[in-house]
């Protein structure tokens, strides 16, 4: 059976990218749509009420002052499209929250859950009766609080830490967690723990060679895992006017792929490292990400008779 898969990752809360992901199903005539990790936003932008009908926000390196109504709605839309969460509050509320980490966490959790509910609803409305299989998986950046929302959907499937059979009879092994990062994100494991998790999942795969490995973090030392080198203060290291790039992928993911030689590897995590690389017979993909600019990077893969017939990177 011929199957067309569309894979994207790292939308990081961008409304516009998520809507594009859903629209890709129809435009690209997709059988299976996979969103492979890092769904939620990284920033909350306080939109602070000043006076009666004016609001102020710091966004895109400038301070916006807008009126209630159309101007405010436009600003909220721009913030959402960039992957950030706008939060309307008054000055007193802002002063109280800014120095209280537990309140900031609460805001993030509330915003993440609220947006995820909106997305699930949107997906159910748009993809209903289209016959597409839609898999949406959290990544290392996503708090576990959103899992419940994804699990509650009748249409969307959260494949994280599962082995599932998708259209065409292909088995798909999925893992959204990553190896350690400098930011200590919510779903990180040591290489040893990651390998144990992957080995445990592998026990449920009947035929690894025709399987799809949907693993958020890319394999180590490939074209897919090059990221800027950071110093202790998380500054990018430059030499001779150029950024120093280093490999930051997972060694255990590489070992598992090299040993089991699945049909394809679907990865994200490193936005700068769009690419395709062969590890033995396995084609590993990372579409990269430009969620901040509202572009959905993805990869279309046509599978035919148990093989990869062709692929195409997209910039929707």
């Amino acid at each position: 059976m011929n199957v067309r898969i569309f894979f994207a990752a790292d939308v990081h809360g961008s409304d516009v990218c998520f809507r594009k992901f859903l629209n890709a199903v129809k435009i690209y005539k997709v059988d299976v749509a996979i969103l492979g990790g890092d769904l939620t936003g990284k920033l909350v932008i306080p939109v602070v009420r000043i006076g009666e009908k004016h609001y102020e926000a710091d966004f895109a390196n400038r301070r916006w002052t807008v009126k209630e109504g159309e101007e405010l709605n436009k600003l909220l839309g721009l913030i959402r499209n960039s992957g950030f969460y706008p939060k309307i509050m008054d000055e007193g509320e802002y002063d109280r929250i800014k120095s209280d980490n537990s309140l900031i966490k609460k805001i993030f959790d509330e915003a993440s859950v609220e947006i995820m509910k909106e997305w699930v609803k949107m997906a159910e409305e748009k993809l209903k009766n289209m016959g597409v299989q839609c898999y949406i998986m959290p990544g290392n950046d996503d708090s576990k609080i959103i899992d419940e929302v994804l699990e509650g959907s009748e249409l969307i499937v959260n494949p994280d830490e599962k082995v599932l059979e998708i259209k065409g009879g292909f088995e798909m092994l999925s893992l959204g967690a990553s190896n350690p990062t400098p930011w200590k994100t919510p779903r990180e494991y040591t290489e040893e723990e990651l390998e144990r998790k992957l080995m445990s999942l592998l026990n449920h795969v009947k035929d690894p060679e025709s399987a799809i490995f949907n693993i958020h973090v890319p394999p180590y030392k490939t074209l897919l895992d090059m990221a800027p080198l950071l110093d202790d203060e998380l500054r990018v290291v430059t030499k001779g006017g150029r950024i120093v790039f280093v490999h930051v992928g997972s060694e255990s993911v590489r070992r598992i792929i090299e040993k089991n030689q699945p049909l394809i590897g679907l990865h994200g995590h490193i936005h700068e490292s769009k690419g395709v690389e062969k590890l033995g017979r396995t084609l590993c993909f990372n579409p990269g990400s430009e969620y901040g600019e509202g572009f959905l990077r993805g990869i279309l893969i046509n599978l035919e008779k148990g093989k990869v017939k062709n692929h195409l990177f997209t910039y929707g």
Partner: protein, 539 residues
């Protein structure tokens, strides 16, 4: 969790929140791509020839001002689409996929020509001038012979491709060494021009001229004056005038260097406060280049005389008998004539260094473009292979090297058929002009509007008009002016059958190639490559 005081935002722990490259990095990258030392030779040789009396300060200033807007156009586009990797992607998105391809295609065609021309500049005027002036005449003659150019060119290409394959670390070391040697050359020349007098220069010139049976300083001035008056009706000696109109024909000459800081936008994705860094870096590099040229202009006027620059450029350019030196007149050659032997080598090597790393600048982005085309199924998959050993696109780098060899051999055997301006025409007409149009229209493109409005660029306006639009318009006017001069003024030698063929190759082959590849991929592989850039509806 952390809250930032100055900016009212709340952050959480998530990947990618980093502090990145700053404006100094951008400035260095942009300045290197303008190759300040090589462009200076071009300016002081062909400026007085094409526009005798045209004020070099004003010509550079006008180009600088207009190109600052060009720099803004590139910087703003890079700010709106910071992970673009250059013009290929943002022109594809803002204009049309085929126009995005065309802009990088034009770049490749232009750089095919550049690879031949630039390699030749290492040997002539670089090495041949130095060898002659240190008394190594046989070596000087060999390096400019066809076989010398081919052998020398092959060595340069092999070195460049090997460095490209070894990766960024080797590239950085090579680049820093070349840049340092080039900057030292400028300081050495300025020191010499300050330390010696005009009489010292005349004496040095006369000694060198006597060795080759060429006219001495005053005879050359006298004979060229007669020639200029009888042939062109120009009354000599010619001095720089302060007439602005007279300086306009200098725009293409100054533009030969100043229109090239754009390459810095390729690292926009890793730049901290990208709009500020790009603005400071690109504009800073332009100003840096212009200042270096202005200092050299002032010192050349003092030590050599502008009238002598005009005389030597015509004597050399028109092949007058009074100029019998076997190498082109050059600002660095004038300095070498007065320098002690060790300094002669330092200056000569410094000039070569300005050209040597420039070749590598063709290999690196060229291999990246082939890699991008390969990802988008526009080029064979093999060109997208990345070596497991070196982690670089080895096959694409070698492919560019082979193209470079063809260009070198072509130039060595038929140098009349490739010239610098011929290389500039397709680059201006495709890559740069398309980018200027993209800058003009990006705020008004429906599909880009939210991206534009959500970017910091949207805050820059003059009245109701976005600054990026104004920048695109002024940049387009500059590019159109350059093309106008190429077409209407035969002195540039850029508009002829060959240049038309090269420009046609840039356009027609691109369209044919795109259509053919699209047909092939659809028919044989069942995939529609136009989907790659198809805009997904955001509703």
């Amino acid at each position: 969790m952390s809250g930032k005081e100055k900016e009212k935002v709340f952050l959480r722990e998530a990947t990618g929140l980093v502090r990145e490259a700053n404006w100094v990095d951008i400035l260095i990258f942009a300045a290197l791509n303008m190759s300040v030392g090589l462009s200076a030779w071009w300016l002081f040789l062909w400026g007085p020839y094409i526009a005798p009396g045209g004020n070099l300060y004003i010509g550079v200033l006008i180009t600088l001002i207009m190109m600052i807007f060009g720099g803004l156009a590139w910087a703003f586009l890079a700010s709106i689409v910071p992970r673009s990797g250059g013009e290929y992607v943002f022109n594809s998105r803002i204009l049309h996929p085929i126009l995005g391809l065309m802009s990088s295609w034009g770049w490749m065609v232009a750089n095919f020509a550049w690879m031949g021309v630039l390699t030749a500049y290492i040997f002539d005027p670089g090495l041949t001038t130095t060898f002659h002036l240190v008394g190594m005449s046989e070596a000087a003659e060999f390096v400019v012979s066809p076989i010398g150019l081919i052998i020398g060119g092959t060595i340069v290409i092999i070195i460049s491709v090997v460095i490209a394959i070894l990766g960024l670390k080797a590239f950085r070391v090579f680049q820093i060494i070349c840049f340092a040697l080039g900057v030292i050359m400028f300081f050495a020349i300025w020191a010499l021009f300050l330390a010696y007098s005009k009489a010292d220069f005349i004496n040095a010139w006369n000694n060198v001229a006597a060795n080759y049976g060429s006219a001495d300083y005053h005879t050359l001035m006298q004979q060229t004056s007669q020639y200029l008056e009888s042939t062109y009706g120009i009354k000599a000696p010619v001095y720089q005038s302060w007439n602005v109109m007279g300086a306009l024909p200098l725009l293409p000459v100054a533009g030969w260097g100043l229109i090239y800081p754009y390459l810095a936008t390729y690292i926009a994705g890793e730049t901290k406060r990208v709009e500020r860094s790009m603005l400071l870096g690109i504009i800073g590099s332009l100003v840096f280049c212009a200042i270096a040229w202005w200092i050299t202009t002032a010192l050349l006027e003092r030590i050599v005389g502008y009238d002598f620059l005009v005389a030597t450029s015509y004597a050399y350019g028109d092949g007058l008998k009074c100029y019998a030196l076997p190498f082109a007149p050059s600002y660095f050659g004038f300095a070498i004539m007065m320098a002690p032997t060790w300094l002669k080598w330092l200056i000569g090597i410094g000039f070569v260094a300005w050209v040597l790393y420039y070749f590598l600048y063709s290999v690196f982005p060229g291999a990246r473009i082939l890699l991008a085309w390969s990802f988008d199924r526009l080029a064979p998959a093999a060109l997208g292979d990345v070596s497991e050993r070196f982690h670089t696109p080895v096959k694409a780098s070698i492919f560019i090297g082979v193209l470079g060899m063809i260009a070198v051999v072509w130039y060595a055997l038929a140098p009349a058929y490739l010239a610098s301006y011929i290389a500039m025409i397709p680059q201006i007409a495709t890559c740069f002009m398309l980018t200027s149009i993209a800058a003009m229209i990006v705020p008004f493109r429906k599909k880009m509007r939210s991206v534009y409005e959500g970017s910091p660029v949207s805050k820059y306006k003059i009245g109701p008009i976005p600054l990026i639009t104004i920048s695109g318009i002024i940049y387009f006017i500059l590019l159109a002016t350059l093309l106008y001069y190429f077409i209407t003024n035969p002195l540039y030698g850029g508009w002829n059958t060959t240049s038309l063929i090269v420009a046609a190759i840039a356009y027609i082959t691109c369209v044919i190639y795109y259509i053919s590849v699209k047909y092939y991929r659809k028919k044989k592989e069942g995939i529609d490559i136009s989907l790659a850039f198809k805009e997904l509806p955001p509703e």
